[in-house]
Symmetry: C2
Subunit: 210 residues, 2 copies
């Protein structure tokens, strides 16, 4: 099929739903994750996020993109207030429940309770984990960057602890998400499963520096 | 299978390859993209990137994470020098060629030439596109944020123009990457294809604001 061309003139003609669908999906697939936090009043919160990126390995760092806090963003506020959050993978068999975590509830209602996923805690780590999740991380807030162009927030956290299903962990440290049926997503609403095609030799420039 | 637990003590005991594999893969799937730039000397450059995230739709913005510029980063330097770059999707049939774009060539050799992908240009847009790519964007540099923790760079660009295969564009603006066999990736070297499971109703809180 032929390629269709669009430029700023096209973008401006589109209605906001079309434009949102287009630009939320043109960058391609992402993993679906649930972020767990606790408010300073002690209410557990769960939000759906599609933008967890790798920032560092020597000190293990992850980045997450948050929409501009022009309306209340419970997850972001809770991270600022308490300093901690969890990132939990989503398996295919809880997809519908996980998807509904993006419903906007009042801050005094826990999404865990509303959507029917059980929370779990570990030691003194304040943020709640999703009990059923097969790959999860506990992180500490490190820094945030406000995007001047539209108020989006790029937040960086340091991984403090992890749980990984033994079936997903390969001998070289690689975490194979397809072994535990983790879901990926594109746009705001379309979910996929992944099938491994191949592993290619890692090239020198990609290797970690000392 | 049971979950295995790891904390900072574990992370420090791992060798750097294990740690890199682990933290590059634990966050899950990403789309594989090629970023095209031109140096101020006029040499076309192509790099492999796994971290393109959506930043905005009203003004269409994309974010990309770059490793710390402690060794020469041609793509990043070219964006700073010229102000423009392209993001090109990778189809399964060019995966091996695209993967080899992460080989470190000297700045005076174009990766396009080395790996055997053809570059193409549009109008006055300075940055090269990958001719065979079925979904591609031309962007203008907007801003960058240096992550204090490890020197990683979060760069934001505004989408100026797009090409999308008609087979991938749905009536509501959604871009279906699986219709053109786009590749996704996890870690540094493991590639996947995606199969659509389902589309769920978009929930109110995810809808674009006016």
């Amino acid at each position: 099929m032929i390629l269709r061309f669009f430029d700023s003139k096209s973008f401006q003609k589109w209605d906001r739903f079309y434009r949102s669908n287009f630009f939320n999906s043109i960058g391609g697939y992402k993993s679906m994750n649930l972020i767990g936090t606790k408010s300073k009043e002690g209410i557990a919160n769960l939000g759906v996020f599609f933008s967890v990126v790798h920032v560092g390995s020597t000190t293990p760092l992850m980045g997450v993109v948050f929409r501009a806090p022009d309306v209340p963003r419970h997850t972001l506020q809770n991270i600022y207030d308490t300093g901690y959050f969890t990132i939990n993978s989503v398996q295919e068999w809880v997809l519908e429940k996980a998807h509904s975590a993006s419903i906007k509830y009042d801050a005094d209602i826990s999404e865990f309770y509303k959507i029917g996923l059980r929370e779990s805690y570990h030691g003194n780590f304040i943020a709640p984990y999703v009990e059923s999740s097969r790959i999860k991380m506990g992180l500490k807030f490190v820094e945030k960057h406000d995007v001047a162009a539209n108020g989006t927030v790029f937040l960086v956290g340091e991984v403090q602890e992890c749980w990984v299903d033994g079936d997903a962990l390969e001998p070289d440290g690689f975490v194979e998400h397809s072994n535990v049926n983790n879901v990926l997503v594109n746009g705001l609403d379309t979910y996929y499963s992944a099938k491994r095609i191949k592993k290619l030799p890692v090239l020198e420039s990609k290797l970690p520096s000392k």
